[in-house]
């Protein structure tokens, strides 16, 4: 059976995303950081309740108030603070389970690829705090020294009012 270029890309990236999910659920956050380029933009806009005919206004654009808009430095700070032993919101840490699926990947120009995945992330914290978060990630990836890395991630959380006490886990 021959595999098309698109199928080959899918076969490469699905294990990449499964690997990312395991890194997060096993709390291997430094290795998770290595999956991102130095010029990464890690972005989670807000989602508004608007009429269907105004769908262009549903997701806030870059430049509006957003939930997360991190460069590499900010992502590193998020991970670094966990090692201080004083990140009380995550010490004791959350238990997470990232289920990633619905991968669609397509090549862009100049060796970059675009990949979108859907997620269900279950988060359990302390005794009874729990939340199921759902949404999608739209990533741009490129190879750095032969390995895929994410240069842009846009997370669309399926929420208007976030139902969790905070967003202290990585998506």
């Amino acid at each position: 059976m021959t595999v098309t270029a698109r199928q080959a890309l899918w076969l490469e990236l699905m294990p990449f995303y499964i690997h990312e999910a395991w890194l997060l659920d096993e709390r291997r956050f430094k290795e998770w950081l290595d999956l991102f380029t130095d010029d990464v933009l890690y972005f989670m806009p807000r989602r508004k309740n608007v009429l269907r005919r105004e769908a262009h206004r549903e997701v806030t654009p870059l430049g509006d108030l957003s939930l997360i808009e991190d460069d590499r430095r900010y992502l590193e700070m998020r991970v670094a603070r966990l090692d201080t032993g004083m990140a009380w919101g995550e010490d004791p840490p959350s238990r997470t389970r990232h289920l990633i699926g619905n991968l669609v990947a397509e090549p862009l120009s100049k060796g970059e690829v675009k990949a979108k995945t859907a997620f269900l992330v279950y988060r359990s914290h302390l005794e009874t705090d729990h939340q199921l978060l759902a949404g999608s990630r739209e990533d741009v990836l490129r190879r750095v020294n032969g390995a895929w890395k994410i240069s842009k991630r846009t997370i669309l959380l399926d929420a208007n009012v976030l139902l969790d006490k905070n967003l202290s886990i990585f998506l």
Binding site: R46, V50, G63, T84, L162, N166, L167
Partner: protein, 445 residues
């Protein structure tokens, strides 16, 4: 109806607080009547409804309210509830519309609240429906520097009186420039906490070097933020002052450096300094030289539930709060500066905020501890700095001797009692305005 129940939940001599105020449903229900039913409540900002016919979905307590700008440009705060059966007439977060139609039976209201159309007025209602009396219920609306407040109480004093001398301090952030401010947001999330735990936390700078140390440390390392320690806080010359129900902290700024906000780092500081210097003449004109050069508002809260400038602690029962976080940006600021402030605000104090993440479990366990059989009987101790506050020759309000104090929290709960125990607004004390408001800025902006 019997006489108003009298609450005595704080002992001013010892600072002991009855923690049932954080968990008791009956007390919460009374708060909705006596506090959220009467006070001026922050509901939005003019910049969220800039054009005629714009509307913005917001809340007064648990009541959904539409902030609208009608065809003549006037602001309205309309209870988002059809007068027929009670369906909401607006389900979107915001938009632009001349009318709001109820999706149930088609009753349509103008964005000024007037009931304009009812299907079957003659055919079904026999022309007996009293339409003029069935408009959307309206709250009184007033604004301060573009921030929109509303109250259900016809007998509430003016917003100007309600803010009182607190405005003397608030102007140093909210009323600096001729062009006013732009609100962005909100982001919204649900916290399992009593609304008061978030509000009284605004004067609580005591918690910062403990709760937020991990974030402060990494930001010192990565962003060059000034280090944070207990020593810095205890020795800080910053001030802690309670004014007419509102909690204020501020810095006396003798060195003419810009006000410290999240978003200032070693990279961005030159931007902030340049902007501060360039706008100082305008700010001096508007606020007078003393406030422009010497007074920089810090953490603060506006009674009852306005937190840190423009965030709303919306009560959702005694054990839950829906937190709305906006950022306010001076319209005339350079784009790079606006971005730095916005990023600093969301990255530190948003739902995923590096600082904010560590607050919620403190507040929720304070809230939850007020439920259990034994816990609810053991008072909180808010005794820090008792007896060490009073009037100040230069600054309006009750000024604590030290920056780190629980005086504002004690006085917040005394203010809570004043509202809860009053039969009407006539019984709620309002401190007279004594501050000298130098400069050209007014309450309108």
């Amino acid at each position: 109806m019997g006489a108003t129940q009298k609450y005595s939940i704080i002992d001013p001599a010892t600072g002991k607080i009855d923690r049932r105020i954080f968990s008791d449903q009956a007390i919460y229900d009374q708060e909705m009547e006596k506090i959220f039913g009467r006070a001026w409540l922050m509901i939005g900002h003019e910049s969220l409804v800039p054009e005629v016919n714009d509307f913005f979905h917001t809340y007064m307590g648990e009541d959904p309210v539409i902030l609208s700008r009608d065809g003549q440009g006037r602001l309205h705060a309309l209870l988002n509830m059809c007068r027929h059966r009670g369906n909401r007439v607006v389900r979107c977060d915001d938009g632009n519309a001349t009318r709001f139609m109820c999706t149930y039976h088609g009753w349509s209201y103008g964005n000024d609240g007037k009931l304009e159309h009812v299907p079957g007025t003659s055919e079904a209602y026999y022309d007996a429906l009293d339409k003029p009396s069935l408009g959307l219920v309206q709250a009184r609306v007033e604004t301060y520097a573009g921030i929109v407040f509303a109250t259900w109480a016809e007998d509430a004093p003016s917003l100007e009186a309600f803010l009182g001398d607190a405005r003397w301090y608030l102007d140093t952030v909210f009323n600096r420039r001729d062009g006013g401010m732009q609100a962005l947001g909100p982001m919204k999330w649900l916290e399992p906490v009593n609304w008061k735990t978030m509000v009284d936390n605004c004067s609580d700078n005591y918690h910062v070097p403990t709760t937020h140390l991990s974030s402060a440390r990494v930001q010192t390392r990565y962003l060059g933020r000034p280090p944070l320690s207990h020593k810095d806080q205890f020795e800080s010359p910053n001030k802690h002052v309670f004014v007419n129900g509102h909690s204020i902290t501020f810095r006396e700024a003798p060195d003419n450096t810009p006000r410290y906000v999240h978003g200032i780092s070693k990279d961005t500081f030159p931007l902030f300094l340049a902007y501060h210097e360039a706008t100082l003449p305008e700010v001096e004109r508007r606020l007078g030289a003393f406030r422009a050069r010497h007074v920089q508002l810090g953490n603060h809260s506006i009674f009852p539930n306005g937190v840190l400038g423009f965030r709303l602690a919306l009560p959702r029962g005694p054990l839950q709060t829906e937190f709305w976080h906006f950022v306010l940006l001076e319209k005339g600021a350079p784009e790079a500066l606006k971005r730095a402030i916005r990023i600093g605000s969301q990255a530190n104090n948003g739902a995923a905020g590096l600082f904010e993440q560590d607050d919620v479990d403190n507040w929720r366990q304070v809230t939850a501890a007020s439920k259990s059989r034994l816990g609810r009987r053991i008072s909180q101790d808010l005794s820090m700095g008792l007896g060490h506050a009073g009037p100040h020759p230069e600054y309006p309000g009750v000024v604590s001797e030290r920056y780190i104090s629980e005086n504002n929290q004690r006085l917040f709960y005394q203010r809570w009692e004043e509202f809860m125990n009053a039969e009407s607004w006539a019984e709620i004390p309002i401190a007279p305005i004594t501050a000298r408001f130098e400069g050209t800025a007014t309450i309108r902006g």
